[in-house]
Amino acid sequence: MTKTIMLSFFVFFMTLAHAQKVEFTEYNLDNGLHVILHQDNTAPVVITSVMYDVGGKDGPRDRTGFAHFFEHLLFEGSENIGRGEFMKIIPANGGTFNANTSQDRTYYYEIFPSNKLELGLWLESERMLHPVIDEQGVETQNEVVKEEKRQSYDRPYGKLLEVIGENLFEAHPYMDTNIGKMEHLDAATLEEFNAYFDKYYGPNNAVLIVAGDIDKEKTIKMVRDYFGEVKPRPEVKRDFPKEEPITETKKVTTYDANIQIPAVLAAYRLPGQSTRDAFVLDMISAYLSGGKSSVLYKKLVDEKKLALQVQAVNLGQVDYNIFALFALPQGDVALDTLLDEMDEEIAKMQNELISERDYQKLLNQFENQFVSSNSSVAGIASSLATYYMLYDDVNLINNQLDLYQSITREEIRDVAKKYLSPNQRVEIEYLPKKEDN
């Protein structure tokens, strides 16, 4: 009894001493599954999560949307879990779950009270080892995904990302939407789904994270018990076509039936998220539109009252980032005016250094973000998986702030100059669809 108390005391002080540092252990199983454990016994919560290195960009181009469709299919059941039981077992054990898919990866997780750790491992290993993929599941989820698409794309400004993708990319599969074309899903056969699973859902194409109130040694053993028997698959090889740099402004007009106020966008194709330049662009986007004192918000929304909203977004992806300027006009302001005004600020960044105080402001903002990003075990698990799989550097969970702090004002200016000129982008006028009657 006394011993247990001692132990928790010890853990408590450990946590205090390393208030900021996220400790973790990583290793591989024989079948190639990468495992990362993070122990934090301060609350009786545990997360088990698996990130698979497969996303919307993978698979044949006449079968888009498979990755996301799989995210639905793999809740249908397994050899030991009946149809629909996934969604029953988890809440029945006090847990929550979800999954999400991006162009680059698919992520599944369960969060449980910590006495259900083994259950979480069983569920995820069942999914990896032998899920049931059959006609009935495919048919139902086909309809469900169509509704998901209507719900998320047929809403105001819901097609922005789709329009950016199809215009910014000419060769790389990022040109297709993540949810895919419904006719592709309609045409897909069961064999194709099975082949897709075999190709991308191997243990050696995945990372398992267990984080929270665990005993590390016991967890290592359980992980081996549940995941050890999954057979490795041939290595996934990718050879996506490279994009040629954009050298001339491309202008596009598109329509949305669900809006009344138009929008203007300028989208740039940039190096992928793990490059140093991508981190610099995070700072540029924060400088432009992070907070009420940011240059674009202050000028366009507040002082000149030209825009209702303005944003500079740096959307991280593995192969190419998307950097986009976005604004909604206020009243009758012309979309061109908004673009000109935004360009003026970017031109300043390209030619002058941002002030010392603005630079310090950015670092403070990134420090605050960094501290908050590790506030839950679920957040930590997701970061560990992402940094390991998509950035190839799991230590970013602790070093990220150092990286931002190492970026100089000169670098910010140079990166803005290198990537953010009007001839390097797609300009999109996003207009309300006219009503005919």
Partner: protein, 688 residues
């Protein structure tokens, strides 16, 4: 001795681990749970300032950050024709103080990497521990001495008007506005909404008055969470918020419960751009967290629609594939004024079927005792979520605040799990009957009328129509856009082409169809004869006895039924003439008019109005005729009925519908055609 003992323990440990490694797991069985984790429900450190502010502090040193939440415990306010004043006040607050300019204020907040935001009855500030003192100072200053200027007021007003427009065609925005307005009433604090007009009614003075009326320390709570000692936090709050003066607050009355409708009705709102319909089945309830049946109500709602394991989700998504998600919610409020709401976004074509399934599931939980395992699982979910929520230090602060604001017993959360576990299947049944009022509900549907409304008619509920701002309107005409170039004759041409072409069709002088139908277990035979020159006979028989007979000889006609013969009225003669002929589409009648596109059993069809009483429907896709609709006056009431054509089959080179379906009120009679002949079996005497 001591060393030896430790070694022994280590040895046993090693043995256990080695044994464990070789043990096989049994995958076919769900793993057993370990021992329940013990939970420690702490309480925040609480103190009260002289001006009325209650300070609650939860110290948590895990991360070097602190947050401050200010909640002013005001009753909900009716904004009336000035709806938007509260929203304007919130957006104007947090932009400077009487001694710090807006730009300096915003710049400093951003510089600290902090955030400070305000609502109309509180605010929230957070940031790094090292800047905490300045963050509270700024937040307090912005609370007590806000910079409210006419210029800023005008700016925010313009923005609010424009922002409304971004939601004008948004299904979710329209639905949530209309559902609350219909359920509570448009003049109720929970039902009112902002429009351009109400925003324009608001003056700068109104905003300042509202600030005076609502921003006071009397009933305020400040919750501090994070890396800070309670003593220090209290000192901070006292230092910066201590000078905030108490105010004489005017008495605001409690919101009242709006009565439910006396019988269930459909409220339809047309949103022509919508690719889905949002369905909300809602009724008002009087439920407080302090009520005895609160925990049973939580369980009942969770079982019905609390998540992926709920009745609604399992049926509407996982079984039918109608929707991405179907859920229900049951509100509880300290005033006993809230709503039950079961909702989903479904594709327009299945809106009617989705309503049927919703009602079915709500009926089920009201009439059938819940399966013991489902109840057990629902409880386990709440227990688990309760345990896991404690990971966030905000949770215990929220619990403490909730107890105060909702006048709950001090041990409400200490007994929470016990009370959950006490709920019985019978309790669930009782509260379901009490709170899910399926017979006094509004079924609010926002969707694309031209694809939805016709099928809704069949559900048998009265339908009321409203505009996007919950104003009652007459039933609108739901038209789909007609593609350019489509005319009556182009529709007729494609119909003739679809059934075999003009050449084939012109070779026939007359036609006979014979078929059978089953009505309430009795077999009825049906005969129809038509001639090219416009004669028509329709005979309905049972066991050789004629039930009804209709004859038209090209000039006059009659109906005979139950021994009574009635001659055609002038109108009937006119209608019969226009419809006459084997394939009346070979000529275009003068009165024929293409009125739009409507859907027949989910299939888009061009609508051609032949006379005031007759409309015909031709498939946009196949060109085939899908239905004929006739309107007749009976005892002063207009009754419309449809004859639908399907199962088109090739007979003598012509596509003929082998299934005729006649709708009669809520039911449909299917006539299966057994025999079709051309130029045979029709004589002149048939039409006498």
């Amino acid at each position: 001795m001591k060393t030896l003992k430790i070694k022994l323990v280590t040895f046993i440990g090693v043995v256990l681990i080695t044994l464990g490694a070789s043990a096989q797991i049994d995958r076919s069985q769900m793993p057993e749970a370990g021992p329940e984790p013990t939970i420690n429900l702490e309480k925040p450190k609480e103190s009260k300032l002289k001006n009325g502010i209650t300070v609650m502090v939860v110290e948590n040193n895990k991360l070097p950050r602190v947050s401050y939440q200010l909640s002013i415990d005001n009753k909900p306010l009716v904004e009336g024709d000035k709806a938007g004043v509260a929203s304007l006040l919130s957006s104007m607050l947090g932009n400077g103080t009487t001694s710090i300019s807006k730009d300096d204020f915003n710049e400093e907040v951003d510089f600290l990497g902090a955030s400070i935001n305000f609502g109309s009855s509180g605010g929230f500030g957070s940031g790094l521990k090292k800047y905490a003192d300045r963050i509270v100072e700024l937040m307090a200053d912005a609370t007590i001495n806000p910079l409210l200027t006419e210029e800023e007021f005008q700016k925010e007003k313009d923005k609010l008007v424009e922002n409304l427009k971004t939601q004008e065609k948004d299904l979710s925005a329209v639905s949530s506005r209309v559902v609350s307005a219909l359920a509570y009433g448009k003049d109720h604090a929970y039902g009112e909404f902002i429009t351009e007009e109400t925003i324009n009614n608001v003056t700068f003075q109104d905003v300042k008055d509202l600030y005076k009326k609502t921003f006071a320390p009397n009933n305020a709570y400040i919750v501090v969470v994070g890396d800070i000692e309670p003593k220090e936090a209290k000192k901070q709050i006292k230092k910066y918020f201590g000078d905030w003066k108490k105010q004489d607050l005017s008495e605001v009355s409690d919101p009242e419960l709006t009565e439910n409708v006396s019988t269930t009705e459909i409220n339809f709102i047309d949103l022509p751009n919508a690719s889905q319909s949002e369905i909300s089945i809602t009724n008002n309830v009087s439920l407080k967290q302090s009520d005895e049946d609160y925990f049973a109500a939580l369980m009942a709602n969770n079982i019905l629609g609390g998540g992926g394991e709920g009745y609604l989700f399992k049926n509407l998504r996982e079984d039918k594939g109608y929707t991405y998600g179907a859920y229900s919610s049951l509100g509880a409020s300290r005033y006993g004024v809230s709503r039950f709401d079961a909702s989903a976004k479904v594709r327009n074509a299945v809106a009617d079927s989705a309503v049927v399934e919703f009602i079915k599931e709500i009926d089920l939980i009201r009439t059938e005792p819940v399966d013991p395992e489902i109840l057990k699982n629902a409880k386990a979910k709440y227990v688990g979520n309760f345990v896991m929520a404690l990971e966030r230090p905000q949770t215990i602060a929220n619990y403490a605040l909730n107890i105060k604001r909702n006048n709950l017993p001090e041990d409400f959360y200490a007994n929470y799990l016990e009370n959950i576990n006490k709920v019985s299947a019978e309790d669930v049944l009782d509260v379901s009957k009490k709170y899910f009022k399926v017979d006094n509900a509004r079924v609010v549907i926002v969707g694309k009328g031209s694809e939805v409304v016709e099928n809704l008619d069949r559900l048998g509920y009265p339908i009321q129509y409203f505009d996007k701002y919950a104003n009652p309107i007459e039933k609108p005409e739901f038209k789909k856009e007609l593609p350019e170039g489509v005319t009556v004759s182009s529709v007729y041409d494609s119909y003739i082409k679809a059934i075999g072409g003009n050449d084939v069709v012109s070779t026939f002088n007359n036609m006979m169809m014979k078929g059978n139908a089953s009505v309430q277990g009795m077999s009825i035979s049906f005969t129809r004869k038509l001639t090219k020159d416009g004669k028509m006979l329709e005979l309905v028989q049972m066991n050789g006895n004629t039930l009804s007979k209709q004859v038209f000889d090209g000039e006059k006609g009659f109906t005979a039924a139950q021994g009574q013969k009635t001659d055609y009225t002038e109108q009937q003669v006119e209608d019969a003439k226009i419809m006459s002929g084997l394939f009346s589409e070979q000529k275009v009648s003068e009165s024929a008019e293409l009125t739009g596109i409507e859907s027949i059993n989910g299939e888009d069809a061009y609508v051609i109005r032949l006379t005031e009483n007759i409309r015909e429907f031709y498939s946009v896709d196949s060109g085939l005729k899908l239905a004929t609709e006739t309107t007749a006056e009976q005892m002063g009431q207009k009754m419309t009925s449809k004859l639908m054509y399907s199962d088109y089959t090739n007979k003598n080179g012509v596509m003929v519908p082998m299934m005729l379906s006649q709708d009669l009120g809520p039911q449909t009679i299917d006539i299966k055609i057994e025999e079709v002949t051309f130029n045979d079996g029709v004589t002149a005497s048939d039409f006498e």
